[in-house]
Amino acid sequence: MPELHIENVCLSYGAGPVQVIDNVSLTVPEHQFSVIVGPSGCGKTSLLRMVAGLEKPTSGRLRLGDDVVTGPGADRGMVFQSYTLFPWETVRGNIEFGLRLKGMPKAERKDISDHFLRQVGLAGFADTHPAHLSGGMMQRVAIARALANDPSILLMDEPFGALDSQTRGLMQELLTRIWSENRSQILFVTHDIEEAVFLAQRIFVMGARPGRIREIIDVPFAYPRTIETLTCPDFIRIRQQVLAAIREEVLKMRPEPAEA
């Protein structure tokens, strides 16, 4: 499982260029669960989309092991914030979509989809179409679909952002459970500080305008993490640390301090 290297990446839009990302470098080691957290508009989603190959950096480069990223590919799976299941496919059809593109035989595909259906707790829904699923179930299928393709790294762009807070909590626990079984490499983007601390082994705190890495914080808790993790003193301390950093960034983005 190769390391992900982001090397001196800059991103600007437009002719009188608006700089979105300023010289970001970071490394996601093998088997690591990394989370990028930052205020909205800091360019964290753009950074992730560049790793996926869906956007190109203005300068700098990204590479997975020795392979420089030039476009999207099956080695970098992605789970999006919006619901992106294919509505004409069943749950199983969605999970097997990438495998069918590879031309994998049916029996082999079925073994893999069965495994991931079980892992995300949807074994009874293999033949259901997405229109009949709740938001949380759809995102579980999206995770299974990405993992079934056996990517080198799993990219997640605020995948739980559209879910209600109870469902989000359950999904976060599920994700730490899946990760502790698979130990796949994950790069997860969120603006939710609690989510970042709960999920990550390592947190990259991004600053805004232009986006850059402001702080790197390691989180020591064991996996799978549970609801008890949320109340332990170290969790609260780290959350506080991230919160303070982000608050500073948010205040910097405001033209003037708010009046009382």
Binding site: L54, P72, G77, F86, H129, P130, A142
Partner: protein
């Protein structure tokens, strides 16, 4: 149920009230027809009574001419409209997906689709002749352009993130088109077909304007010569019913072919 409920926008009114209002509306039209024809307000040469119309309907069914005319018109409408589907659906999906295709086709299509089909009937006679091909061409030309534009809108509206999900699963550009854009466009394309199937039936009289000897349009035009308004009424009613049946048929086909695509109702 109070009057306030009826005047509140988007307020559900319940099945019973809905049916009552719908029945009242249909009954009013019938009542107006009865009063105007039986009351002597309009002469029988201009407006047949419902009774006469029904008797004529029975007569035309009895002598087999109605069935023959329905078969002739259905053949023309279905042939013309199927051709339009075969051309417009692939072209529309391409147009909505590739800007280059849109640039090539859109200006021409947008110009032609505003030309009334009646204006090109003389040209069609010159080019295609006066056989069944000419009638099929009228239906085809009357529907193909609007259908193309409507399908193009459908495929242009397919969410970009659906395509991006495909790319990150390892799909090539061609696979994204064939395995994502095409299936994602089908429900909307079938809705566009339903709208334009109605349009196809409205052209049946124009299609049978020239050198016809059968068809519902021909039947209506022919009845005009002898002032057989009752036959004209039967013809008009039958076209409406055929349009309705086509619409229901396509609706059923959509549900059967695309059970995963529920109507956003």
């Amino acid at each position: 149920m109070s009057l306030a409920d009826l005047t509140r926008p988007k307020q559900a009114i319940g099945r019973r009230v809905y049916l009552t209002l719908a029945t009242a509306s249909g009954a009013s039209v019938m009542l107006l027809w009865l009063v105007l024809s039986h009351g002597g307000f309009v002469g029988p040469d201009f407006l047949p009574t419902p009774g006469t119309t029904l008797a004529t309907l029975a007569e035309l069914i009895g002598d087999g001419s109605l069935a023959r005319n329905i078969a002739a018109s259905t053949k023309v409408v279905f042939a013309g409209f199927l051709l339009a589907i075969v051309v417009a659906v692939p072209l529309g999906i391409l147009m909505g997906s590739y800007q280059a295709v849109a640039a090539l086709i859109e200006p021409v299509t947008n110009f032609i689709r505003y030309i009334p089909i009646t204006a090109v009937v003389p040209l069609l006679i010159l080019w295609v002749g006066i056989g069944i091909e000419q009638k099929i061409a009228v239906i085809f030309l009357g529907t193909v352009f609007n259908l193309t534009i409507m399908v193009a809108d459908v495929s242009a509206a397919v969410s970009r993130s659906l395509l991006e999900a495909g790319y990150t699963l390892g799909a090539s550009r061609g696979q994204v088109f064939l395995r994502i854009l095409v299936p994602a466009s089908l429900p909307g394309a079938m809705d566009a077909m339903r709208v334009n199937a109605g349009v196809a039936w409205t052209y049946v009289v124009v299609a049978e304007l020239v050198a016809s000897n059968s068809g519902i349009g021909f039947m209506i035009l022919n009845a005009m010569r002898g002032l057989f308004t009752d036959v004209m009424f039967v013809g008009i009613l039958v076209i409406g019913l055929l349009g309705l049946a086509t619409d229901q048929g396509l609706k059923g086909l959509r549900g059967w072919l695309l059970p995963w695509a529920r109507h956003g109702k």
